[in-house]
Subunit: 350 residues, 2 copies
């Protein structure tokens, strides 16, 4: 047998019914995010690592532009980590496009063993959960997780090409043009941005909602179930988290989530934050109910949440990207829009 590294401290411990605790520490060593012009004009304008001059990023198609976002995010994250692609044992990647082509074409050139993931807009949480499994389990020392979305490629994929000039109800969210990549490692290093101390994996939750222009309402039940499961599995109260952060419920979905949780006697109103609400100035940027897309929670985590943990403003956060499981075909065939959410407990590294 070839070269082997045995780690006796490796492994994970199951917690409750749908969570696990890493058996050895898993750190977010570095991260980077790249975004579009609209995101670059929003509240995170100073915190995003790179924004494009326009949303084509020098490419000929929206899909290529989205692939470029992933490539740039991975390149920047590796650079910040001071690591090479060859050191990454796995790349966990996903996006919203059919057959995940933004990832296939975005990250192939790095030559990292590729784990394609699909969790709709919850993909950032799913990749971080699986990456934590690999590092904690001793199957990897370092992995990288990346996800993306692009407003124009998503409109084309799920609704209409931009040139059609389709109108949108106020409940609709605006797909974030952006990508973020995260290097996970078991190595103790003072540069580590944060520590992953728990993972709660979500079930598909279907309340029978069919309105694909109100995805916040479709995803709120899944977010509610996930948050309740996390608190139960870890024996925690909402106050044990400085923030409970959902991915892209938007203003409409946030209200639904808070109400659903109250029915379970869980009140998170004082510490809830939604990336879709934070990433834009919803009052002036004409984004309807807020931001959405895989890139929404990923960019917010890299640009803002990890910074707050690094600065010690927050100590422990429950990060819960949320996804709506629909396709153009399932919508046209009258199917419902089930939701899913994946949770990651992220704490201050030091």
């Amino acid at each position: 047998m070839g070269q082997q590294t045995g780690r006796t401290d490796a492994g994970g411990r199951m917690a409750g019914s749908q969570s696990f605790v890493p058996g050895r520490p898993v750190y977010i060593r570095a991260s980077a995010c790249v975004a579009g012009t609209k995101e670059g004009e929003g509240p995170f304008r100073e915190l995003i690592d790179m924004t494009g001059k326009d949303d084509l990023f020098g490419c000929k198609t929206w899909e290529e532009a989205e692939s470029t976002l992933q490539k740039e995010a991975v390149t920047l994250a590796l650079g910040k980590a001071g690591m090479q692609a060859e050191q990454m044992r796995y790349l966990f990647a996903g996006d919203l496009l059919g057959q995940s082509t933004a990832s296939s074409f975005g990250v192939a050139s790095f030559g990292i063993p590729h784990m394609g993931v699909y969790g709709a807009c919850s993909t950032c949480g799913e990749t971080l959960g699986l990456g934590t499994m690999a590092v904690s389990g001793g199957m990897a020392e370092h992995v990288i997780c990346v996800t993306s979305s692009h407003f124009a490629s998503a409109e084309k994929e799920f609704r209409y090409p931009l040139s059609y000039g389709n109108q949108r109800p106020p409940s609709a969210t605006w797909t974030v043009t952006g990508s973020a990549a995260f290097v996970l490692t078991s190595e103790v290093n003072q540069k580590n941005r944060a520590k992953i101390t728990g993972v709660t994996s979500g079930k598909i939750v279907d309340y029978g909602i069919k309105d694909s222009l109100n995805m916040g309402a479709c995803m709120a039940p899944a977010a509610c179930e996930l948050i309740a499961a996390n608190l139960k599995d870890f024996g925690r109260k909402p106050e044990d988290y400085d923030r409970i952060v959902t991915g892209d419920l938007g203003l409409v979905g946030q209200r639904a989530l808070l109400d659903l949780l109250k029915e379970k006697n869980i009140d998170i109103e004082s510490r809830h934050m939604d990336c879709g609400i934070e990433i834009y100035d919803c009052g002036t940027q004409d984004v309807g109910s807020g931001g959405s897309g895989c890139g929404c929670s990923a960019v917010t985590l890299s640009a803002y949440i990890l910074k707050m943990l690094e600065e010690g403003v927050w100590k422990r956060v429950l990060f819960v990207p949320t996804g709506a499981l629909l396709s153009k075909t399932s919508f046209n065939e009258g199917m419902t829009v089930p939701g899913i959410a994946h949770g990651v407990v992220i704490e201050r590294a030091a």
Copy 2:
């Protein structure tokens, strides 16, 4: 903190550059497969657990029919394992449809934490690899992996609706209508069908081929790289495997694979088998170069390969599902068709 189970023997050991060895045994406890009429008339007719009267399986759309395949495969596999859905810690699931909707709608009702995976037709290998990671790492005692494809939903997704009457070149493969599910466990039990003793995860390999009707040629380079990496990582020769089984290269892709491996001085001709060639009688069933789709390798593993291991005809097999990473959009935009392959070493349980 809530209920916890610590496993000191949990964890995995890295092998070579892209493989790992489970730190504690991971068994395939049970499996089941469901397939369409054409598959039911092929060489595995006696080995498939259930075939439909027609390929709609009582549904109104091809997509719903594919979801039904997954639901039936999971139900049967759980039944054979003598286990309940609640005992499964994770469900790793994927398919070929945009946004993996066959999985979203097929398995939601089981209420198992859901890990959506996309590896095109290599998905069966990717789900088994991730499932092995979870069980071996101690994050789960039991998990279930499922994947599917359907001829009619795939033609609609990637090419033309059936009613268009599109013609196909001889290099084209025929998407298998089928689904298979596998229950993985760490429990020693005399009913275990086989044991997973290694996982090699594939990189995306792009030789610049653009012909989506010759997917065997698109995927052969990825299969070649994966097999070479597996042999190197585990310090093995082809003779150490009774069979090296690719997913769906078909007759055209098989030739390409054998030639590419010979350039690396690796000769697997005497022990290579391709699920796409085995699942149909390629001479009489009018399937072009052979079968393809996520269901192709999954059904062949459940119906035939595991049976050969159980009966002791084979002792150790390298199972390598292969995927072509394209979408209708990427094809129409003139992109290449990169390939990927995921390898799993499967041995006799006893």
